[in-house]
Symmetry: C2
Subunit: 204 residues, 2 copies
């Protein structure tokens, strides 16, 4: 979602290719030739084959400076974008993954409920903090949407089945709706055929 939205926001000429995983979660030989670790997504840009969503969004931002997806190099706002993007990808996203796929994080199936219980708490705390952060500002860093906001938008939607859903927090919901107003974000939603709740559809 985040790299796709960044490409659309940047006005890049891109082609979306879905990666089909088999029953065991393994990618095709064709995909593994591009990305031997099999993780999704991969961006192919000329000779560059890039993985890691947080890296891809920074790459797109650097490639299309006119889209202002990150503040200027050397500005404090840019470093704030790095900070939020890193926090989202190294803390919030891994917590979500442990909560959603506990079987990947223990050798003992009996240990899975303990992981889910712990991460449900941890994840709630992270979304509470993000909600607080957004109480006094429209975007995570700087005065306009950045790739950090696209990343948060993705995680907010991912966590829709948490209790409470991430977007049940008022500032996070306002941020989600604000991000949804971006043409590139709407295009991504449409091209991926993603479902949105009624309160978001009413605004889309």
């Amino acid at each position: 979602m985040a790299p796709h939205a960044a490409l659309a926001e940047a006005g890049a000429d891109y082609e979306l290719v879905r990666v089909e995983l088999d029953e065991n979660g393994a990618a095709s030989a064709e995909y593994l030739a591009l990305n031997p670790w099999g993780r999704v997504p991969t961006l192919v840009d000329g000779d560059l084959v890039l993985t890691e969503s947080a890296a891809i969004v920074l790459h797109v931002a650097d490639r299309f400076p006119d889209a202002r997806l990150v503040p200027l190099v050397g500005s404090p706002e840019r470093s704030e974008v790095y900070r939020w993007l890193v926090y989202l990808t190294n803390t919030v996203q891994p917590s979500y993954l442990r909560w959603r796929y506990p079987e990947r994080y223990t050798a003992d199936p009996a240990g899975e409920p303990g992981i889910v219980a712990r991460e449900a708490d941890t994840l709630r705390r992270h979304f509470d903090r993000l909600d607080e952060q957004l109480a006094a500002r429209s975007w995570l860093a700087g005065d306009e949407r950045s790739v950090a906001d696209l990343f948060l938008f993705m995680l907010t939607r991912w966590a829709r089945s948490q209790e409470p859903a991430a977007w049940e927090r008022s500032n996070l919901r306002a941020h989600f709706l604000r991000t949804l107003e971006r043409p590139g974000v709407r295009r991504m939603i449409e091209e991926q055929g993603l479902e949105l709740p009624d309160w978001a559809l009413a605004r889309a």
Copy 2:
């Protein structure tokens, strides 16, 4: 280690302040005023208060372009640095933390051994991949050391009590020694009073 080494490599004028945590791992009120989430480290640069090591090293790299700690904006090599840095901070580092501090990742103490067993495997696989990656190249991305290499250096040392230790892999060990030749890295080691194994001391 990585932000400190980046500052030293950049020739920045910095002051190292140790953060003492209490018995429960809590930081002082003074530190929490700077960084309400209590995580270490925090960089104070004028009015900017920055957290997240991976963000701090990019900030330092952008602030001191002459140190060439990241390739130029818009180059494929820079995006490769983003990619490795993101992978190290969102995949390898969290795996290490789960292996080292399983109690943070489950509500059920009986589930801790299963987490440790799983992460011991996962972490080994990540270091194997990093070792493979370094078979044909001196640095993770581009032709000279970048902040991604400083980050890997840190994780390689962190994982010294894994079995096998991360640096028992030949390419990773060569990378560790190569990074240790950097004056800023040596300065960081000395200022933090970090111990090194004999084979590294012999080269330091």
